[in-house]
């Protein structure tokens, strides 16, 4: 088990060390990074026998109280993916080391690529849903950086963002699904979840959880209708496309479906939905692939199509389908990785990847052409390549499906043959632009041996499949269905109904190619999914702007109105739905006439401030309100307050006058036209608050803490003026805060006046 820990840590260690190990210009980055990934491959290979023989698990605690831990476990399924990640990775890394020119920031590139590889290993070895999610999102993030590697291109940035939005968004949905399952089971360990699968399937959250997790899987694996990010991601450097978008990252969704299949296939919605999506994706993808003229776009759509195929297989959760899925997944990793790398070579040598501009490869690049043909044959499912076997297995499954699905799937197979022939024959035999001949020369061996090795692998998978990977496939398929799988007998030579269908499909595909039924257009119309994405993007921004502008007026009185109205409305709701206790004592004591007369002064002053026609009058009205307050204070036994109020009001009025009266313009203070709405709001506020207060005063619970002050002021605090004693002693801290406010206010006033843009130095 520790070998696997080492294998998954090696890429991260490499990424961390790369800046220190590499030379300043990053010349040797590629080789160092390749070293790490090859070492990782070796670690996986060495651990495989032991792991298959005796599975185990290692856990590193993260947040124990939440059940979060990084636990690592492995079975055939994980190992199959791990081989793909590290194996294809080794080849892609070495390819990239030779491929990227010195003008690129190779250090950054390989750093990202190593992080990605480590994250993928983390996903497949995770034995805990949350740690799987952690690495899952890390793959999204690192792929974002890789797709946008050539960040000066607008298309790269857009493609990176799109890929991130779709895959990470799906990942979030998946997280919710994981949490639902984790909450049902009480654990995020996959082993515990497997054990509790009946409980999960019976829970009322089951369907929701399944749909959410499915969303994660189909976005990551670019299934219909979330496939549009994959073609856009082709803006990445070609090794990235080969690695992420053919061999590994897009397979993470498949891995998830396979891993969770034993649990989620118990939920009725799982298998039918995924099967339909997979088959539709397969056929739609191959149809779109036929229409492309850009080699990379063609491969991208073909990848979508192939992923759909594998998805449909894993969704079945039967032994034979899982075997087909695993086998084709390995196959696809090999031949599609090779194809992408070769497109990179072609672009490198011929400076174009436009099908219509590429001249005869067979004569220009014979070695490359040979490899290309083999890979295309494998993809088309033509003997003696591994693809043939996997297509047979696939068709066998498809023939058992409801007939509409069968028809669609067979159609997809025909189209697949069609675009493969475009690759193999179209590229090799057309003679369109002889001018290209001058530039084009055969690919250097440094670039060619990687694809060749991959294709050789695909060939071996066709010739000796059982010998090469039988045990692994068996174990992987068993893990994917959570049960026993018979040892697969994979062979090239057999006679069955599927062979007939297969031959028919190949012939039909050839016909499609030969007669050019699917016209390839140089500027293929935009994908519907692309248009949806763009509409979403602009619509989101546009509507967000409209919504935000509607309330962010920048007008103070609107903000205040909102605040006050929220208060008034919620208080009214309170009165209606909860109600106030009307029986509470409404303890207003009667008042003498002269008190009413005194009260008239502040009332008149307040109203006067509202209607005051000039600055001076308004300020004086405020002053009158303050002074009359002092009068009230003195009447109710608050001499300190009265004194303070008088002093404060005097100084305030002086400040008001010095601030505003001398301003030359706007001496008149025309009140705004009477605003009934604002008047109503104000009245509701003033009257409501007063009523609340009065109501509350009637229901004091027990006494007040003030009695203590009255009792202890003299003896314990040595002061007869209780208010002052409270201020400086009982509640001295308030006063400390209060004088801080005064001090800061003065500093700020000073700063406001002295420090201004027009005279910077105070």
């Amino acid at each position: 088990m520790w070998g696997l820990v080492v294998a998954s840590l090696l890429p991260f260690v490499g990424a961390a060390l790369l800046p220190f190990l590499s030379k300043s210009r990053g010349d040797n980055c590629g080789w160092i990074a390749s070293g790490f990934i090859v070492a990782s491959f070796a670690a996986v290979a060495i651990s495989t026998p032991a792991v298959l023989h005796q599975p185990g698990a290692i856990a590193f605690e993260w947040v124990p109280s939440l059940g979060l831990q990084f636990s690592i476990a492995a079975d055939g399924l994980s190992l199959a993916f791990a081989f793909l990640i590290t194996g294809v990775g080794s080849i892609v890394f070495t390819f990239a080391a030779a491929y990227l020119g010195p003008e690129e920031n190779r250090r950054r590139f390989f750093c990202y690529l190593l992080i990605f590889a480590g994250a993928m290993l983390g996903v497949v070895f995770a034995a805990n849903l949350i740690s799987m999610f952690v690495f899952w999102e890390l793959t999204s993030v690192s792929s974002f950086l890789l797709i946008g590697f050539w960040h000066e291109r607008d298309a790269s940035r857009g493609g990176a963002l799109k890929a991130l939005v779709i895959t990470a968004g799906g990942g979030l949905a998946m997280l919710v699904g994981f949490i639902l399952i984790g909450s049902i089971v009480g654990s995020y360990e996959i082993a515990d979840i497997m054990a509790a699968r009946e409980q999960i399937a019976a829970h009322r959250w089951a369907t929701a959880a399944a749909m959410l997790i499915m969303l994660g899987a189909i976005t990551k694996s670019a299934q219909f209708p979330f496939h549009s990010w994959l073609p856009s991601a082709m803006e990445a450097p070609t090794p990235v496309s080969a690695y992420l978008h053919a061999a590994t990252m897009v397979k993470a969704g498949l891995y998830l479906v396979a891993r969770m299949g034993p649990v989620l296939s118990l939920i009725p919605i799982w298998t039918p939905t995924l099967t339909v999506l997979g088959i539709v994706t397969m056929t739609w993808g191959s149809f779109l692939a036929l229409r492309q003229t850009d080699l990379k776009a063609l491969l991208a759509f073909s990848t979508i199509s192939q992923l759909g195929l594998i998805m449909a297989m894993f969704a079945q959760n039967t032994a034979s389908a899982a075997t087909a899925g695993v086998f084709h997944m390995l196959n696809h990793g090999l031949f599609k990785g090779a194809l992408f790398l070769m497109v990179g070579v072609i672009e490198h040598e011929a400076h174009t990847r436009d099908l219509t501009k590429l001249a005869s490869l067979r004569s220009n690049m014979p070695r490359l052409f040979a490899v290309l043909v083999l890979a295309s044959l494998s993809m088309a499912g033509i003997p003696p390549m591994g693809g043939f076997i996997s297509k047979e297995l696939f068709l066998e499954e498809v023939l058992q499906m409801p007939w509409p699905l069968t028809v669609i799937a067979v159609l997809g197979a025909c189209l697949t043959v069609g675009y493969c022939l475009v690759l193999a024959i179209g590229l090799g035999l057309t003679h369109q632009d002889e001018a290209e001949r001058k530039h084009a020369h055969d690919a250097p061996t440094a670039l060619l041996w990687g694809p060749a090795v991959l294709v050789f692998g695909a060939l071996l998978l066709g010739l000796v499949p059982t010998f090469l990977a039988g045990g692994l496939i068996e174990s992987a398929a068993a893990a994917a269905i959570g049960g026993h799988v018979p040892h697969p007998h994979l062979t090239m030579f057999h006679l069955s109904p599927t062979l007939i269908v297969s031959v028919a499909a190949i012939s039909a595909g050839a016909a499609v190619f030969r007669f050019g039924w699917m016209r390839r257009t140089p500027d293929a119309p935009k994908l519907v999914a692309d248009r949806v994405y763009e509409a979403w993007l602009t619509g989101l921004e546009h509507n967000a702007q409209r919504l935000t502008a509607s309330y962010m007026s920048g007008l103070l009185w609107r903000y205040v109105t909102i605040i006050v109205c929220v208060g008034i409305i919620s208080m009214s709701a309170l009165a209606v739905f909860v109600g106030f206790d009307a029986s509470a004592p409404w303890g207003a004591r009667p008042a003498q006439t002269f008190e009413y007369v005194v009260a008239l002064i502040p009332i008149a002053a307040a109203i006067g401030a509202v209607v005051a026609p000039t600055r001076l009058a308004a300020i004086l009205a405020l002053g009158a309100s303050g002074f009359s307050l002092a009068l009230l204070f003195s009447l109710v036994g608050a001499p300190d307050l009265a004194l303070t109020q008088i002093m404060v009001e005097t100084v305030s009025v002086a400040l008001f006058l010095s601030a505003f009266v001398h301003l030359p313009a706007y001496r008149k203070l025309k009140p705004r036209k009477f605003q009934p709405l604002y008047a109503a709001v104000s009245i509701a506020f003033g009257v409501g608050v007063t009523a609340l207060l009065h109501h509350a005063r009637g229901q004091r619970v027990g006494g007040t803490i003030a009695d203590y002050f009255v009792e202890n002021s003299v003896e314990k605090a040595g002061g007869h003026n209780i208010v002052n004693v409270i201020l400086v002693d009982f509640r001295g801290l308030d006063t400390l805060g209060e004088i801080s406010v005064l001090g800061i206010a003065a500093l700020t006033c000073y700063a406001l006046i002295k420090l201004r843009p027009e005279r910077k130095r105070p």
Binding site: G554, A591, I607, V610, L641, Y666, G686, V710, R731, A746
Partner: protein, 116 residues
């Protein structure tokens, strides 16, 4: 004298809020001043408005006439002082804003000029 004071509170708060909702700098500042007057009275009323004497004790132990609740008074004092500091700042700020914007109309402060 509950009712008169409650009336004062209600009117002062209403007028204060109406002025805060206006669109002239100075009126808003005055409105806040009125509101803080009203709230100070509220605090006073929250302790009860008995006909008690001022909370000043004479002699060592004088529990003769029951004094009015002193705590709200202390709170009001603190609130007045803080209010004074804030008002001073508000005035300076209003004055500087006026100077910088060249108008005392809050509608001109909606930020559209300097947004984006």
């Amino acid at each position: 004298m509950d009712v008169p004071i409650l009336l004062v509170i209600a009117v002062t708060l209403t007028c204060g809020m109406y002025m805060v909702l206006e669109r002239t700098l100075l009126r808003v500042v005055i409105g806040l001043g009125l509101m803080s007057n009203g709230v100070n009275l509220m605090l006073l009323a929250s302790g009860g408005l008995g006909a008690g004497t001022a909370p000043i004790l004479h002699g060592q132990r004088d529990y003769g006439a029951s004094p009015v609740d002193p705590l709200p008074q202390a709170l009001i004092l603190t609130a007045i002082v803080i209010g004074f500091g804030v008002t001073a700042l508000l005035l300076t700020l209003a004055y500087r804003t006026y100077q910088s914007v060249g108008s005392d109309d809050l509608g001109e402060l909606d930020g559209k000029l300097t947004d984006e």
